[in-house]
Structures are given as C-alpha cells and as structure tokens.
C-alpha cells in the first residue's frame, strides 16, 4: 500500500493543517477589531426603545459576552471556540438576533450549492469540450475567433461581468428578472411553477458564472490539447496509422483531462468566491447575499460562520478531487 503512505497520509495531514490554520486565523482576525460587539448590540437595542435596569443589564451583558465567545482570556476564548465548533455552534447572528448563524447559513446554502454545482459542472465540461475541439483544429478560423473572444471575456472580474449582464439583459432588454431567487411571495414547493420561477431567476447569475468559468477552461484546454498533440506519443500514434477517432479520445483527451482535473481543484476557491460575488449582484438568496448583509450590518459572527464553512467546504472539495486523481493517472497510482 505504497500509495497510502506516499500520497494519502501526507495529503490528509496537509488537509487538516490548512483547515486548522484557516480556522485559527478566522478566530483571531475579528478579535483585533476596535469595536466591541456587545456594546453595539446594546446600543442597537436601546436605540429601538428597550430599557433594562442596571442589574438586569449586567446579567444581559454577561450573557451576550458569553454568547459572542468573548468571555475570559484569549486562550480560554480559543478553547471555547473549538468546543463550540465541534458542537456545530457558530454562534448567534448580530443582525438577526437571536437566530443562530447556522440556521441562517442553512437557509442560504441550498441556493448557493445549486448554483455552484451546476455552473461548475457546465463551465468545466463545456469549456473542455469546446476548448478541446478548438485545440485540435487550432488553425481554423472559428477556433481563432473563439480564442479572441475568450481573451476579451476572461480578464473581466466576476463583479463587472455579472453587473454588465444584469444591465444588458434585465434593464436594457427586460428579458430576465432583476433580483432575487423567486418572485416575491412564492412558496418553496416542488412543483413546476416554482421550478420555472427558480430557473428564470437563476439564469442570469448562472450564465455569468458559466461564461466566465468556461472562458478560462476553454483557453487552458485549448493550450493543453495543442501541447498534447505535439507530444511524442500522439505523433507516434499518427505515424502508426491509428484511426483519428481513437487518437483523439484515447491519446489526446485522456491525457489532456489530467491537468484540467488538477486545475479544477486549484481554481475551486476562486470559483466559489466568484459565485458569492455574482449572487450579491443579482441579490440571489444564497450565501453571497447573506454575506453582503452581514458586512453591511457588521455581523461578525455571521461573517465568521460563512468564512469557516467556506474554508472547510473548499478544502474538502479539493481533497476529494485530489484523491480521485490517481483513478485517472496511472503514473501516480503505481509509482
């Protein structure tokens, strides 16, 4: 079980280490903030007209301090932080007090997951297919035209691109709704009107993500295929008179997909961030908009919860891809 030792164990250690460091960093960053969240909540409540006598106020402050994990020395806080994490307790949201953060994330997560998974799948497969064909027929005009198109689309950041699409297809031409996940007032249900509604609303954010992600995949795949085509073993297969179809599928694509799998893993963090940003532009009810609200109201617990979850989710996704890689590349399997 050489594979286990050389590949799996170090990778797992790295996985846990990254998560540990990430979570620690997330713990420390808000604790250097100048503002005191307990005082802020009190100020918020008193400004809304509530009043508490001094004794109850002191109890209240103590409860709040404990709820926000600010009780005790830094070390005690750190310990309590980890304890609560293992219980799945991300604390309580400031701006939607007293809803626990985990609940808020729970409502938004399915929207983000749906958007993220479909768009990643689509942009990866479409980008690879079109890029692969373009790389194979790299001298044709359509291949070069697509290349130029990708060169214009790719450098545009998620925010601007999403915003541009929004302007164009929701304002200038009112083909799509401007915001939200569904029309206002529609209840979640598994029936066709609901699904149709969701599709209509998610079309633009999905389009934005697929085009941007697809452009990058297209470019890299085209380059990879051009390089693989020049490899000795492909030239040799051609010299051997192997049929073209077989060369393309077994020699070119099989080998070209390998770096693309790794590429997917590497770019997953960016894809995720891009999805969040796109959601914000379209007010799509996923983690992105939740994050936006958290920032605007200064809700550290919520931001922290989202960040922690994201770090764990992304590193896990990357780990899964990494562990699946040997299935495709025998050179790693049998070293």
């Amino acid at each position: 079980m050489m594979f286990m030792k050389r590949y799996l164990i170090p990778r797992l250690i790295q996985y846990f280490l990254v998560i540990f460091l990430g979570i620690t960093a997330v713990f420390f960053i808000p604790r250097f903030t100048p503002s005191d969240p307990v005082q802020r909540t009190i100020a918020q409540l008193t400004s809304m007209g509530s009043y508490l006598d001094p004794a109850s106020m002191e109890d209240f402050i103590e409860d709040l301090t404990e709820m926000y994990g600010l009780k005790g020395s830094m070390l005690q806080q750190y310990g309590a932080f980890w304890q609560r994490l293992f219980r799945g307790d991300f604390g309580v949201s400031f701006f939607q007090f007293p809803t626990p953060v985990i609940e808020l994330i729970g409502t938004s997560l399915p929207w983000t997951l749906g958007l993220l998974l479909t768009t990643t799948f689509l942009s990866w497969t479409l980008g690879n297919i079109i890029g692969g064909l373009a790389g194979h027929f790299s001298r044709r005009r359509w291949s070069r035209a697509l290349d130029t198109l990708a060169m214009v689309v790719r450098p545009i950041p998620y925010y601007i691109f999403a915003f541009g699409l929004l302007l164009l297809l929701a304002y200038v031409v009112r083909w799509f709704p401007v915001a939200g996940g569904t029309d206002i007032g529609r209840k979640v249900a598994f029936n066709w009107p609901f699904i149709k509604d969701v599709l209509r609303h998610s079309f633009l954010p999905a389009l934005s993500l697929v085009i941007l992600g697809g452009a990058i995949n297209f470019q890299t795949m085209k380059l990879i295929v051009q390089n693989v085509n020049a490899e000795d073993f492909v030239q040799y297969a051609k010299l051997g008179g192997v049929k073209e179809g077989r060369i393309v599928s077994r020699y070119v694509i099989r080998n070209a997909l390998l770096p693309q799998i790794t590429g997917l893993a590497l770019s997953f963090g960016q894809i995720f961030s891009g999805a969040l940003i796109t959601e914000i532009v379209f007010s799509y009810p996923g983690l992105g908009t939740l994050l936006y609200n958290a920032i605007v109201t200064g809700d550290y617990n919520l931001i922290m919860g989202i960040t922690l979850l994201s770090i764990v989710a992304i590193t896990t996704a990357i780990l899964v891809i990494d562990l699946l890689y040997p299935l495709f590349d025998p050179r790693v399997r049998y070293t």
């Binding site: 297969a237 025998p330 049998y334």
Partner: protein
C-alpha cells in the same frame, strides 16, 4: 537478383520556417537517390543534424508542415507494383502504414501513451489496420507476438512508466513488427541506452529481420552498430548521400574523405595511435557552403570542390561515391 522495395529519385525535402517575418529554409534532404532491396538491412550513418531523421520521415511519407516536399519522388513496391507514395491519399497512406512499412522513432522512450496499458496500445495499432477481431482475439495476437520475440509476457499488462528505457525500446520495436511489414524504419534505436541493453535491441532487430525476411532501414551514427547489423551502409552528409557500399567495403575501403574520417575515428584492437575525428563542425543546413558541402572541412579539397557539387559515381563493386577525388572507373585517391 533481389528486387527493389523502396526507391527515391532526387528527393528534396526542406523545412520552411518563418521567424518573425524572415523566411529561413533548412535543406535537410537535398537531392537524395536511394535504392533499397528486399531482405536486407540498410544502414544510414552520419553526424547529428545531417538530415537523417528528415530523410526517414520522407521515406515514410510523414511529411508535415513546416517540412515540405520540394521535389523528387518516393516509390514503394507493393505487390509487384511500383507506387508513387506522394500520389496516395491520406487514407491510402494510413492503410500502408504498419502493414507495409512501419516506423521506430527516435527517442522511443516517450512514444507510448502513458495512461493506457501496453496491451491497449497494441490493440489500438491492431484495430486500426485489422478489422473483425474481438478484443480477446487481439490480445491473443499481441501475446503471441511478444513471446515469439522472446520478450516477457507480463509487460503487456504494464504501463509505460513501469518499464525501463531499454524495455520500452524493445516493446516499440516489437510493435513495429506486429503486422509483419515489408519495411521497418528505425531511427537511432540504440542511442541513449547502455551497451548491454544495446545488444538486446540489436539482437531483437536481427531476429525480426531473419523471421520476416523483410527490409530494415536503420539510422544510427554509431558505426559499431552498423558493422553489426547492416548489409549495406549509406553515408549522409549535409542532406546528401555521399557514399554507399556494402558494410565490409565501407569499413575496409572508404573512399569519401568524410567516410574515411568516420571509419578512422573508431577504436581498433592493438592500434594505439590517437583517434582523429572530423575537424570543424557540421554546416548549417540553412546556410550551406557552395559546391560540395564538405569542402570547408576536407583536407583534400580541390578548387572544383568549392564550385560544383559532385554527382554520384557508380563503381563496379556496388560502391557509389560522390566526390571529385574519385574519377570514373578508378578507385584511387588523390595524392
């Protein structure tokens, strides 16, 4: 009288390159006339960069941009008929490949598809030329073939990276003989291998030739290998064939000054004099010297050598040479 199996007439193949606007022409194969017989091993020797590999590519009809066929013809003798290879369609050429003529490229280390097992590579080559066989039948053919040639059976289940360089070379050679072609073209099959493995490779080539009674065109700068395997040797210099004779004749009676240097640079038992190699360096194929391309390095260069290219003279003992020092009917040297 043995029959000619491959013939070239004034073959000219140049590389046309465009380097930032200026055109550069590499005259890799410059008016080559060859006549290769059935059931013989024909060796081609020469320094690196003299055009050997390009000649092989032209013989194999594997001419692709930036390499261009400028002039001349290549004829194969297929089923008692002489075919002009350049008149064939791409599919026609593909069908001849491997069944009639096969190729062992230079650097056979990396010519095998790294992500499929060797038996699958064999299957690809077989399937593309032989129809109507099931997967199992194909594997059986491959197994038989491998064992016949004395190679271990288990290599078929291996991936290329699991085999040593020498073994991969032998596998590639065996693959070339798979469909029992009339001609096998091998480009530097022993280079980059240690002496012990070289012996194995040379032995394999000999075995194959004896079994199939076909023609092997062997390119190598290693004169030792030529002495071991070749029946006839052609010496190539700067894109031209400067001398051709039986192996014995080349070694015992080299006529062209370049050949003389090549032979004299080989170590001999008992001879302790310093080995002399050819002075100077090979000419650039873009910027060839006028007249005979060897004249700048030739110690016997005559005035005419700088002005005119010598044509090939056929001496009675099946010995051809292209040099102004050798006149018609004589085989003497100039003083």
């Amino acid at each position: 009288m043995s029959t000619t199996i491959l013939r070239t007439e004034q073959l000219k193949a140049f590389y046309v390159l465009d380097v930032f606007g200026t055109q550069k022409v590499v005259k890799a194969v410059n008016e080559v006339d060859l006549e290769i017989m059935e059931n013989e091993v024909y060796g081609i020797a020469g320094e690196s960069g003299c055009g050997k590999t390009t000649l092989l590519k032209a013989l194999y009809a594997a001419i692709e941009p930036p390499l261009r066929l400028i002039g001349g013809k290549v004829y194969y003798r297929v089923n008692d008929e002489e075919i002009d290879v350049s008149s064939l369609s791409a599919e026609g050429r593909r069908r001849l490949r491997w069944e009639y003529v096969s190729y062992v490229p230079q650097g056979s280390m990396s010519v095998l598809n790294p992500v499929i097992k060797l038996k699958e590579t064999y299957r690809d080559f077989l399937d593309s030329h032989v129809s109507g066989k099931t997967k199992d039948e194909v594997f059986e053919i491959a197994k038989e073939h491998i064992t016949e040639l004395g190679l271990p059976l288990k290599i078929l289940d291996a991936y290329p990276h699991q085999l040593s360089g020498g073994m991969r070379q032998r596998v590639t050679i065996a693959l070339a003989a798979l469909l029992k072609p009339r001609i096998i073209i091998a480009d530097e099959p022993t280079t980059a291998l240690d002496v012990v493995v070289q012996r194995g490779v040379v032995q394999l080539l000999k075995d194959i030739q004896e079994r199939l009674k076909n023609t092997i065109i062997l390119v190598t700068h290693d004169m030792g290998v030529q002495a071991n395997v070749a029946d006839r040797v052609g010496i190539m210099y700067a894109g031209k064939m400067v001398e051709e004779a039986t192996t014995a004749d080349i070694f015992e009676n080299p006529l062209h000054p370049y050949t003389r240097y090549l032979i004299n640079s080989l170590p001999r038992f008992g001879d302790k004099t310093t080995r002399e190699s050819v002075p100077g360096s090979p000419p650039s194929l873009i910027d060839l010297p006028s007249g005979c391309p060897f004249h700048p390095r030739c110690p016997y260069a005559l005035d005419i050598c700088t002005k005119q290219m010598p044509s090939s003279i056929d001496l009675d003992t099946n010995h051809k040479v292209a040099c102004w020092l050798v006149g018609e009917g004589e085989d003497g040297k100039a003083s």
